[in-house]
């Protein structure tokens, strides 16, 4: 049963090598591997659902010396999200890349990214977190530069430099931790960590690194150019998955490992940055001239919402209210993952059909590409946080937690952020519905429109109406029973 933890990492890694050796078979290898990863991820969730936390010491080396892999509710559910999104993006990618050379470069990197994401989610010790974080960053940069335009290269180089600084800071934090406690295993750390300066320094360094990686305001500046200039399938993965796993680490470290050192003031700081990110990101999205840039700024804003949950989680005592808020932050992250990847794929379809993605000139899109317009609308609903999307439920719980803890200040932030999101989403839809000079004959849904539709439906219908079991699952399979959550 413990083999379950190895497959989501091993399968894409091997497939990546295969795709490198057989570049012409990339589509086939990539598709099969993504499907296999999805099956293994689903199996993993199923077995965590039955048995609770699963852990394995690789090669029989015990933690301390060896590498530990662990899956709990949080990591397995994110793993499943990554697997579904990756498979869908992969299917779209087979249609998107018409240049054989680019396509041959895409698949090995893509599968490597998938392996790195999965390894990060399953890692049980902080040093491996560093390695996988770096691996995710490097493959993401390489994928982002695939387009080959000057803008893309400049953005990728900046992304790489900033990302490396972030991981250096993270690594320095790891050094401090090892010096102070002599172990890097997260479960072991959680039991020995004390509230003292060494812990604070380590936590600060690691968090700083993760803030850069998760593009929290004011460290967000690298994200919009990098995400807007990458090829559409890559942008989708960058916005939906890559920044999301950095946020996963923030949650994991703060709520599972460093619980004792979590001071309300620090959580408030991050909450405030999140609030500014919500407002600034949404405002910039409203001003964005291009659809993909809009989507990228919207990612900055949506990550801000995730950080708003931190002061609330820090302020809630253990109990149902805190469980509700914790499930909500996870649901928010999941919904954003699906909605944002759908939006980027939709933008990719428009860009390829129309030759541009300038919002002002989208007239006629609704007639020429009704399915894609529907995708924009559905993912927009999830970004605004309207029912029946998962974001609506998450926002409800976010507001409820703000009332519960008396942290009223977040309520106007959420309200204004939602209205700004409404403004930027319907700005796009308004232009899309306007009459245009586009040819109206292509009414039939193109096959390249369907992956985005599937993702948008998951975000706006499935996660809104059928995610009721998530809370119980997260609570049942928590890594530290009776601990932080």
């Amino acid at each position: 049963m413990t083999d379950l933890l190895v497959w989501p990492i091993l399968l894409p890694l091997l497939a990546s090598l295969l795709a490198l050796v057989f570049p012409r078979r990339g589509d086939w290898i990539g598709g099969m591997a993504s499907l296999a990863v999805l099956i293994s991820a689903a199996w993993l969730v199923h077995s965590v659902w039955d048995n609770g936390v699963i852990a394995v010491a690789l090669g029989g080396w015990q933690p301390g010396l060896g590498i530990a892999l662990r899956a709990d509710g949080l990591s397995s559910v994110l793993l499943l999200m990554v697997a579904i999104v990756a498979l869908t993006i992969g299917i779209y990618a087979t249609r998107y890349f018409d240049n054989a050379v680019v396509r041959a470069r895409f698949w090995p990197l893509w599968l490597l990214l998938l392996a790195a994401l999965n390894a990060l989610l399953l890692s049980g010790d902080v040093f491996n977190l560093y390695v996988t974080l770096e691996l995710v960053g490097l493959t993401a940069v390489a994928l982002g530069a695939l387009g080959g335009s000057r803008d893309a290269i400049v953005a990728a180089l900046r992304y790489l430099t900033i990302g490396l600084l972030g991981s250096m800071a993270f690594l320095a934090g790891v050094v401090v931790l090892y010096a102070a406690y002599g172990t890097l295993d997260m479960v072991a750390l959680a039991s020995v960590v004390e509230d003292r300066p060494a812990t604070w320094v380590a936590l600060m360094l690691m968090t700083l690194g993760l803030l850069v990686k998760s593009a929290l305001f004011p460290m967000h500046f690298w994200l919009p150019p990098a995400h807007a200039n990458a090829p559409a399938p890559v942008s989708a993965a960058l916005s939906a998955l890559v920044v999301k796993v950095a946020f996963y680490l923030v949650l994991r470290l703060w709520l599972d490992v460093f619980t004792v050192a979590l001071h309300p003031a620090t959580a408030w700081m991050l909450g405030l940055l999140g609030a500014v990110a919500v407002l600034w990101g949404s405002y910039r999205a409203l001003r964005a001239p291009r659809l993909k840039l809009l989507a990228a700024y919207s990612t900055v804003a949506q990550l801000g919402y995730l950080f708003l949950f931190l002061p609330l989680l820090a302020g809630l005592p253990d109990g149902p209210a805190r469980e509700a808020a914790f499930g909500a932050v996870v649901l928010f992250a999941l919904t954003h993952g699906f909605a944002k990847s759908a939006l980027f794929l939709g933008a990719g379809v428009i860009q390829q059909r129309a030759g541009h993605d300038r919002i002002e000139e989208l007239g006629g899109t609704a007639r020429a590409l009704p399915v894609t317009t529907f995708v924009l609308a559905l993912s927009g609903i999830a970004l605004i946080g309207l029912p029946p999307s998962g974001t609506f439920l998450a926002k409800w719980q976010l507001l409820a937690a703000a009332v519960e803890t008396g942290q009223w200040v977040w309520i106007p932030v959420v309200a204004v952020g939602s209205l700004l999101a409404g403004a930027y989403v319907f700005r796009v839809l308004g232009h899309a519905f306007a009459p245009g000079d586009r040819d109206g004959s292509a009414l039939a849904a193109g096959r390249e429109e369907l992956p985005a539709l599937a993702l948008a439906l998951v975000a706006t219908v499935v996660l809104g109406l059928a995610a009721g079991g998530l809370w119980g699952f997260l609570d049942f399979a928590a890594m530290s029973p009776g601990g932080a959550r």
Binding site: L65, A145, G148, I153, L157, M168, Y178
Partner: protein
Amino acid sequence: MLATTIIYGFAGICLFVLGLRGVLLHTTALARILALNVCGAGVFLLFVVLAYRGAGMTPDPVPHALVLTGIVVAVSATALALALARRLREIDHD
């Protein structure tokens, strides 16, 4: 000796800060990449110091293993950065 540890540790921190300064202040790609490597060397040095358990004792193997991994990661990152920088130069020269 304790003093040795402190000297090396302090040197590590200095390198880290120097590198950080370089990344933030330089505008050319190559200088930034070099500065990042200085930064990384500082962190690795800290790991090496950590392994030291006193004269005549075998050093702690774990930090050494970590440093090796870290160096491999840093080398590949540098390679990618250099490749991107070269590509950028090619585009600008055309």
